[in-house]
């Protein structure tokens, strides 16, 4: 280049830059210009995202009866105006081309496995058929019916179903898909604290000094919470992140240390940290003295290889625990030296020690975060215990920025599945079926005669059991809603009748409430088109205990109806001749909300939901019903103690609308309703501390100003749990660990997100992430098709070495959002004996080039 031309260009360049830098930004952002040309809504309504457990607030822009805009709600405390890419595209999920708009009936069962064989039907015909089949099956044998619900059902929907199934049908075969995600966390909460759900708040992410992610890929699965983590890290020196994981993910990017461990050995790593703390006398003596009781439990639990495991001796005794002294706890822990655990797990001893020191440092606020890596684990309940044990030893819990935070996967696994109690062993508000006092309390709230619920004192079938029994032809009637079991259940080779001895899914009568023609719909006898997201009013409760309302914004498509309406219509038919006491059962359960003449709810969406919610909140506001309060306070001394039902107190419905969601317990102080950010933590209620809870039921002045008033003797339990082998380990025939999970762009089985063009183009296929060395050894290149084979089934998939996740040699990973790449055909269904939650992370496979 000539010198003169070059200098000329350079001069021009500089003058341009000077001009640009000199003039203030008069250039309007082109992006906003584009947005100006996009449709502007007539009105904005409040909602909550219907994807992950973060529960971001969303504002919905509506124009001409259609959703035209979705943006983050800046006034919702959970996300403060941000969404992830899925949240921003919520506006499109309802408008996929193949949306189901009419009830469908399949007359010929042999056509199952496709959408062929369905005929359109009227609602009356479909509802009559469903009710008739349910009634018949129920009358024949209650153990042969089941309802599989969801952590994506709205609170009022779950509440309706709980009343119908538990009180109306007196049946405990009702379980949510949350069994597949949070059960281990729930059982651990109940074992440890005797109350479900975490003590902390999302604001802990803004204040922690040390983040520990235990098998959690937050960057992909809880993106907005992850942005708070990175924001905290970026703006504050000295904040560290330890990623404890079996394979590197996007979350590992922010980590200062990545502790790559051999699957299942997370149990040992947690114990090694405990042991280090104990041996070096770094534990908080006062905290332990004031707040912790030590226990041991049954060990050598083996695995649920056989269907009869639960009924076997070890299955029955697996949950037993007994008190021990701290000295014995310390002795049991002493086996987990740094050397032993480092050898077992593959994590350098120095890394474990470094992390232990962070935990032990009284000046460092440590926040543990976990979801599926810990919960979907054949010792998932134990792993939850082990994390709590560390936090108990150093007294780091229920303080801003500090504590064990069990993250929830689904938008309302907390609010609906757990809090409404849609499990085979639960009743609303942490009550359980096998406790007489809990049954009496429920009867009091629901105006049932005393003793009415005694027939349901024995828990029913949990999820894996429902599907195992279905596969053997032992379930005559199955009804599912807000889930996609044909894609998300493990061991689909068995459950989808790919084996001649397991044809039950074909023979059983299956009813599916659905929105798109998913694989589950293809195995149904009746498909009922349901209203999606903001086509109805509903409520979700997210991972930080925030209950929030999503307003109805648009009418359901075609003839789709609100799930709540569908449930009540079926209940009306099924309970037609049933009495509770001397009154019609339907009137007792739903008379307050149903208008028989209109054959519809008594009011519009708002009024109906308010009525249902106000009855539901009696459970945590027993003073609203004297009969219930009497049992809560044990005024007649019939029981050992009171119930402290106010520990999960919910506010009146309209408070949730005006506050854009509130975290319970919500307390009324001087006419105002105030949320609680840190349970069990003593401080001013106005600042988010659990003042009223501690003053009413707890003790003030204990170590760290906390009081675990809901726990037995007000002392949560630190239960010693050992390392035990996984259900399968790699061997010559099946040499790889096969881990499964989720990526950012798609939600679960992709039934909604894959119908959004933007999200689909961002992640169009499910690929198998493989280590390059392994690829070379097997002669596989990036993009090659392979067969993944386990003891349970097989599937084909393309290999990727692009590095979305970076497995070490001997491990592979795939996401489960693609129906055409049905990875769960190969995943085993062995579950944690205590929680019954299956382990999706550790199936052993071999890989063959196709």
């Amino acid at each position: 280049m000539e010198l003169s031309r070059r200098s000329l260009l350079k001069a021009a360049a500089v003058s341009f830059a000077l001009a640009a830098a000199g003039c203030s930004s008069s250039k309007s952002s082109s992006t906003s210009a584009k947005q100006d040309s996009a449709v502007q809504p007539d009105e904005w309504k409040k909602a909550v995202c219907r994807f992950c457990g973060t529960g971001c607030g969303v504002l919905c822009g509506v124009k001409d009866g259609k959703l035209v805009a979705t943006i983050g709600d800046p006034d919702n405390g959970s996300n403060k105006g941000l969404n992830c890419v899925k949240g921003y595209y919520l506006g499109k999920i309802m408008y996929g081309e193949d949306r189901l708009t009419k009830p469908l009936i399949r007359d010929d069962k042999t056509t199952k496995g496709s959408m062929d064989g369905f005929r359109e039907a009227t609602w009356d015909e479909a509802l009559d058929l469903v009710a008739q089949k349910l009634k018949e099956a129920h009358a024949k044998d209650k153990s042969r019916i089941a309802f599989w619900g969801s952590g994506q059902m709205a609170i009022t929907e779950g509440y309706i179903m709980s009343k119908f199934w538990k009180a109306g049908l007196l049946c405990n075969n009702i379980d949510p898909n949350a069994r597949l995600c949070m059960a281990s966390a729930v059982v651990a909460f109940m074992n440890v604290f005797q109350t479900d759900e975490p003590a902390g708040s999302y604001s802990d992410l803004d204040e922690a000094d040390v983040f520990v992610t235990w098998g959690a890929n937050m960057a992909e699965a809880h993106p907005v919470l992850y942005s708070r983590l990175t924001a905290r890290k970026v703006s504050n020196k000295g904040v560290r992140h330890y990623d404890i994981t079996t394979l590197r993910t996007r979350t590992s990017e922010t980590a200062d240390k990545v502790l790559l461990f051999k699957p299942q050995t997370d149990l040992a790593i947690a114990n090694a940290i405990c042991n280090y703390i104990i041996q070096n006398k770094l534990y908080d003596e006062k905290f332990i003295h004031d707040h912790v009781q030590f226990k041991a439990g049954t060990e050598n639990l083996s695995h649920a290889y056989e269907d009869g495991y639960d009924a076997s001796e070890i299955g029955q005794k697996g949950g037993d625990v007994w008190n021990i002294e701290f000295a014995e706890f310390a002795k049991m822990m002493s086996k987990y030296t740094l050397e032993y655990v480092s050898e077992l797990s593959g994590v350098p001893a120095s890394d474990i020690e470094e992390l232990a020191k962070e935990f032990a440092n009284p000046n460092r606020k440590v926040l543990s975060l976990w979801t599926m890596g810990v919960n979907q684990h054949t010792r998932g309940t134990w792993m939850n215990h082990n994390i709590y044990n560390i936090h108990f030893l150093v007294g780091k819990i229920a303080k801003p920025g500090c504590g064990p935070f069990s993250l929830t996967g689904q938008p309302s696994a907390c609010g609906t599945a757990r809090e409404v109690g849609l499990f085979s062993h639960r009743l609303p508000a942490d009550l359980v079926v096998n406790n007489p006092q809990h049954r009496r309390f429920t009867e009091a709230v629901w105006d049932l005669p005393e003793g009415y619920l005694d027939p349901i004192e024995t828990p029913g079938f949990h999820t894996v059991k429902i599907f195992r029994e279905l596969s053997k032809g032992n379930i005559d009637f199955l009804w599912t809603a807000s889930n996609n079991w044909a894609v998300s259940m493990p061991n689909l080779t068995r459950f989808l009748a790919k084996k001649p001895e397991y044809q039950g899914v074909i023979d059983g009568f299956i009813v599916v409430n659905e929105v798109y023609p998913t694989l589950s719909a293809q195995y149904a006898d009746v498909v009922l088109p349901a209203a999606m997201w903001v086509e109805r009013e509903g409520q979700f409760g997210n991972a930080e205990r925030r209950t929030a309302v999503f307003e109805k914004c648009v009418e359901p498509m075609g003839e789709a109806k609100w799930d709540g309406w569908i449930f009540v219509q079926v209940a009306k038919r099924v309970l037609a001749d049933v009495k509770i006491g001397d009154k019609p059962a339907f009137d007792v359960l739903f008379g307050f909300v149903w208008d028989k003449e209109k054959d519809d709810f008594v009011g519009d969406a708002r009024k109906t939901n308010r009525l249902l919610f106000e009855e539901y909140r009696i459970f945590s506001n027993p003073e609203l019903k004297p009969a219930a309060q009497a049992i809560n306070k044990n005024t007649e001394g019939k029981f050992e103690s009171g119930l402290k039902m106010e520990n999960k107190q919910l506010a009146p419905y309209d408070e949730y609308l005006s506050h854009n969601g509130m975290t319970w317990p919500v307390r009324e102080v001087n006419g105002q309703w105030l949320e609680t950010k840190w349970r069990f933590s003593y401080g001013k209620q106005e600042e988010g501390y659990d003042q009223i809870g501690v003053e009413t039921y707890g003790d003030v002045g204990l170590a760290n100003d906390v009081s675990f008033y809901k726990s037995a003797d007000k002392k949560p339990s630190a239960v010693f749990r050992p390392y035990e082998e996984p259900a399968e380990s790699p061997d010559e025939e099946y040499p790889f660990w096969f881990c499964t999970g989720r990526f950012l762009e798609h939600w679960h089985s992709g039934s909604m997100t894959r119908r959004v063009p933007e999200l689909n183009r961002a992640l169009p296929e499910a690929l198998l992430d493989m280590n390059r060395e392994d690829c070379n050894k097997l002669g596989i290149k990036n993009g090659d098709k392979v067969k993944v084979i386990s003891r349970h089934g097989e599937f084909e998939i393309k290999v990727s070495t692009a590095g979305r996740t970076q497995p070490n040699p001997g491990m592979v990973f795939a996401p489960f959002f693609a129906e055409e790449t049905l990875i769960n055909l190969a995943v085993h269904d062995y579950y944690c004996p205590l929680s019954k939650e299956p382990d999706y992370k550790k199936t052993c496979v071999r890989i063959e080039k196709v």
Binding site: A12, A17, A20
Partner: protein
Amino acid sequence: MVISSIVVETVQDKVKQVAEKLGECEGVEVHHVEGYKIIITVEAETLDASYDLTKDFIQITGVLAVNLIYCNFEDDPTLKNKVV
């Protein structure tokens, strides 16, 4: 040769240090410093090299933003061989 001009924005009291640091980078010439803005030109053989150079600027302590103003790339040798 690809010639670009860039406005680098810095934290108020770090302007001088950043300007010095930038000047030490190969192919970078600092032309003007005003307030918290630094005007530089970057010369590199190819667009890729230009991009690689520029993306590291933000690692420099005190740099808030790196704004590309102008880029002449017609003399990038690697581009001459590409045809539609």
